[in-house]
Assembly symmetry: C2
């Protein structure tokens, strides 16, 4: 463990796969020499939770043993709850950066909206904390995070080295699941219009009542070479700068012109 | 009940407060003369669920009795699940419009991100179904939805009367909780940068262990007169056109220029 200077940055780490997922351990190991790492992560998997928050029941924090040299807590809430509680009840200040992940599975294109990993990062960005969500394109619990760790370290160091980051700085980073030597580089991209074409598998329970499992096939409708889906398919790491102003300004202008009530 | 023509539009209705909330009944009553209404709504409240989807357990649909002249189902999943299931397993086609709400409580500014109401509407828009989320600025279960119903009817009729709506057409409509004669009009707006300044109330359980309740005060950081928060504070109905491409194009340009790896 590197010697730590007093003015070292505070790095908040969270995820949506829970503190027991290999991805958050890989993320922590990748950046712990860059600052003081504090981990606040869900105590159970929270994939697909989107930007959910917990309002109907109380939240708890539990100090836990994690990677040596870090301070870590589990939380019974969502990824967004973790960030809120970390700032308010653990750090009692804003961290210098918030990192979320490394997610087991892609969060490119439309997935940014469903992703607990990205929602945690977005929550930090709303609070004006520079923030990055990292995802590896491998769902497996046995995924090889070694090439990803180098990418994570490089991008995090880059952000921490900036004298100033724009307010609400937020990146969505996806990493192809290939050997290190096959990764062609890091590419700044836009979010592709690509999504799952849903299908529900229909089954019957022992009492004859129907139930459904959500499933689907991923389809890319966006043929541009400037998208995250294109970059990943071509073995680039995709970096999409993300915002949370969802106003559709083009449609706003149209409606202002054409809609009279 | 108005006589229905064969070519009448199919109107899918959902919400996040559950099928038992007065708001979804008000929404249904407001628009049922405009087309064939099919309701698929959660069987329990799902506020603050954001864009959550259900992947870890099976989903069920249950036909139920609702407003006379409508077809209605409850679903054990999230608002987004309701839309997916409605299209795939109930309608077996895309509806002509999807309406979500009327939410009990505001979904202006940053709330669009946390809102189950807006996520259901967004899910439909992703599927290229014109879609509107409606919210009334009154949390109460006893809220007076009568003025809101007229607004809902007016805006829905407007959208249905268009020969063509842009792809991924999505509106976030918030309605002030005031008497009808006090409503000044309908205003096309941008999403304000306004949010909750979080605070957690700390308590101890009977065993001496701490727990937290999320709470907070709403603060508007956006002083413009073109925002939804401004419109609502001035008794206008706010209409924000919403998009789901979260790419921050300004930051993208900056990074492309300045970041070399």
């Amino acid at each position: 463990m590197a010697t730590r200077k007093k003015e070292e940055p505070v790095i908040l780490i969270t995820n949506d796969d829970s503190i027991y997922a290999p991805g958050i351990k890989a993320l922590t190991e990748a950046v712990m020499h860059l600052g003081r790492v504090v981990v606040v992560a869900p105590d159970k998997p929270q994939s697909g939770m989107g930007h959910a928050i917990t309002i109907g029941h109380p939240l708890r924090l539990q100090k836990t043993v994690f990677v040596e040299g870090t301070e870590a807590y589990t939380c019974n809430g969502t990824p967004v709850d973790c960030v809120k509680l970390a700032v308010d009840k653990v750090l009692h200040r804003k961290p210098d950066i918030c990192l979320s992940g490394i997610n087991h599975g892609a969060n490119h294109s439309i997935n940014v909206i469903y992703s607990g990993t990205m929602s945690a990062a977005m929550e930090a960005a709303i609070e004006s904390i520079p923030s990055i969500g990292f995802s590896l394109l491998d769902y497996s619990m046995e995924a090889d995070f070694d090439p990803a760790k180098k990418i994570v370290e490089k991008i995090t160091a880059k952000v921490l080295s900036q004298k100033k980051t724009p307010t609400h700085f937020l990146l969505n980073v996806n990493i192809p699941a290939v050997d290190e030597e096959l990764i062609k580089g890091i590419k700044i991209c836009k979010q592709a219009y690509a999504k799952y074409e849903e299908d529900f598998i229909e089954r019957k329970d022992p009492h004859g009542r129907k139930y459904y499992w959500l499933t689907g096939e991923f389809v890319n409708f966006d043929k541009g070479k400037d998208t995250d889906v294109w970059a990943l398919a071509n073995n680039y790491v995709s970096v999409v700068p993300v915002q949370f102003d969802l106003t559709n300004y083009q449609l706003k202008e149209q409606l202002e012109k054409n809609w009279k009530f």
